[in-house]
Amino acid sequence: MLETHSISFNCVLSNLKMVRAFVREELKDKELSLLTKNHIVLAIDEICANLIVHSNHSDENQSIKLKMELRSSPRGIAFELIEKGTPFDYSSYKEPKIEDLKQNQSKGQMGMVLVRRIMDKIEYIHQDDQNICRLFKSLA
């Protein structure tokens, strides 16, 4: 582990802008393509939006802690999102078909698909009365 940075924010969608700015700032000096940086920002934005809306019902009295670590072995960036809302059962998650989303005129359900395309590891656990979402993006 080389360095760790974190922020905490209340569960309102207006905080997503700050979350993106935080991740962008932390990635600024990393030797990554602009596209890769944007994809990482996007994945974190998607997870945070889901945690705000679905796990915590946009309750401004609830908060999420986002931790970001640059790791050397394996080389990559690790994220941890900690909150106390309704747990998400990732083990039961089934990815929707895009064509079905079009037919159903669905506005949602694409966020997790994006995260799964972008991140190399995704883990959801419930521990000590809190939910922890761990994400890892390999830089190997």
Binding site: K17, H39, S106, I118
Partner: protein, 110 residues
């Protein structure tokens, strides 16, 4: 995110500026819904000044595709930058949503 609306003779343009996320997608949804309810059949959406899009924004566009087809209308996105384009491509949405490189190409399809 700011949305600038321009009405021309046979099409309307929505110019999106800033970042389209879960919060600002609500406003975009309202704007598109309003235009379609108002009888617009050619809806062009400029993403030239859009620096970021998340699934919420993609979802708004996706949710109108079927209605657009049913009404025999058009919804065309144009002037996507590389970052925004790549987000559509991750999900293969560039094969489902009509996207042109330039405004001229979008207008030509109306």
């Amino acid at each position: 995110m700011n949305i600038n609306k321009i009405k021309e003779s046979n099409y309307s343009i929505l110019e999106l500026e800033g970042e389209l996320d879960a919060l600002s997608a609500i406003d975009l949804d309202d704007q598109i819904s309003f235009l379609l309810d108002d009888g617009e059949i050619n809806l062009l959406i400029s993403l030239e000044k859009l620096s970021y899009i998340s699934s919420a924004g993609l979802g708004v566009f996706m949710s109108y595709i079927k209605e657009i087809e049913t009404r025999n209308c058009q919804m065309i996105l144009f002037d996507l930058n590389e970052t925004v384009q790549s987000t559509f491509e991750i999900l293969g949405l560039h094969h489902i949503i009509t996207i042109t490189q330039t405004k001229t190409e979008a207008i030509a399809r109306c």
